[in-house]
């Protein structure tokens, strides 16, 4: 279980290693509020889709499995969308179309296809949770950097003296790619160094 958690968070981090779910990662990570919201919504969907698909892995025939997975994932995403609209309108408004787009987040389908349909419900639940938290952690790191540099704020509060000129590029898509590249490089450097010692 510890290994599985490490896999999702570090060794097989969906964003930093598997490079899945790039679209929301680049588009949403402009503020910590958005990054955290998106990460937790995706974690919710991953957790329950992994459980459902794992529980049904012996019932769903091979040739209609992808269609069934998409129906299940789309249902969970719509549930999240409706709940956000009802109880967290501010988050729903700022994430907008990216919530329905979790359906096509390849990280969710990839875990269903490569893990949940071959493993037990418990293992799949842990996998969904760890992958979701890995996704959230990567989004948090990206959105913290982009919010600090791009808007001069942290958690919506100004952190620099009034003379600070925010770097607008960081709030745009290129800034997202640059941030992602730097974080991946840092992660690689750290794991290479660790590997060298061992």
């Amino acid at each position: 279980m510890g290994n599985q958690l490490k896999n999702g968070l570090i060794y097989q981090n969906p964003v930093l290693v598997l490079l899945l779910g790039m679209c929301p990662a680049i588009a949403i990570s402009t503020s910590i509020f958005n990054g955290l919201g998106m990460g937790l919504c995706t974690t919710f969907v991953l957790f329950f889709s992994n459980i459902t698909i794992s529980a049904l892995r012996k019932v769903i025939p091979e040739n209609v499995r992808i269609a069934s997975y998409i129906v299940i994932i789309a249902t969970l995403v719509t549930v999240v969308d409706l709940l956000l609209q009802a109880y967290m309108p501010a988050l729903s408004r700022s994430l907008g179309l990216f919530i329905p787009l979790i359906v096509v987040n390849c990280a969710v389908l990839a875990r269903a296809e490569s893990f949940a349909n071959k493993n037990t419900v418990l293992a799949s639940a842990i996998d969904g949770l760890s992958m979701g938290l890995g996704f959230t952690a990567a989004l948090l790191a990206m959105s913290a950097i982009r919010e600090i540099l791009g808007a001069g704020m942290l958690m919506g509060r100004n952190i620099f003296p009034s003379g600070f000129q925010p770097v607008q590029l960081m709030t745009l898509a290129p800034g997202g790619f640059i941030t992602l590249g730097c974080i991946i490089a840092l992660k690689q450097w750290m794991s290479n160094r660790k590997g060298g010692k061992a």
Binding site: P61, A74, T75, L82, Q85, Y87, G96, P100
Partner: protein, 174 residues
Amino acid sequence: MSILENRVVKRIIDSLKWIARSSMLRSILVLSLVAAICSLALAYTNITTRGSVREVVRVALEDAAEHLGNYAEIIEVHPKGYGGDIHMVIGVSENGEVTGVVIIGMNETPGLGSKIEDEDFLNQFIGKRAGVSVGKGSNNVDAIAGATVSSKAVAEGVAHALEIFAELSAGGGE
């Protein structure tokens, strides 16, 4: 005759066997069941959240009224955008000029069509009269680059609201 009949019956039995063996029926059955259960789950969620969603929209409409300037009438329209209906309200003054436009809900493409929510775009409509559209001219507004369909949809919504206002005031005057 009976030989032919026998052949037909045999063909039918063979086809049934093939269907059973190919597990096609099972696939259809399972997929239908999955879809049916998911629909039920969605229906249940929809029913339980519907009240709160309505409340959120009502609050949004109340907030919008404060950003519509010195209006005589607020008109709600749902023009068709690039990603479904755009829910918007328009404030109209007594002499038929737009006093403000607020987008309540929309599903336009993020980064392109979603810019219809920007104040720079919406403020262009203030002071415009019936027949407003996208293009060049004193009664027209500039479209957002890369989001012509969404811009046109908003302009059509405003024009439609002004038509409704004209009908209302014509009806009220008589």
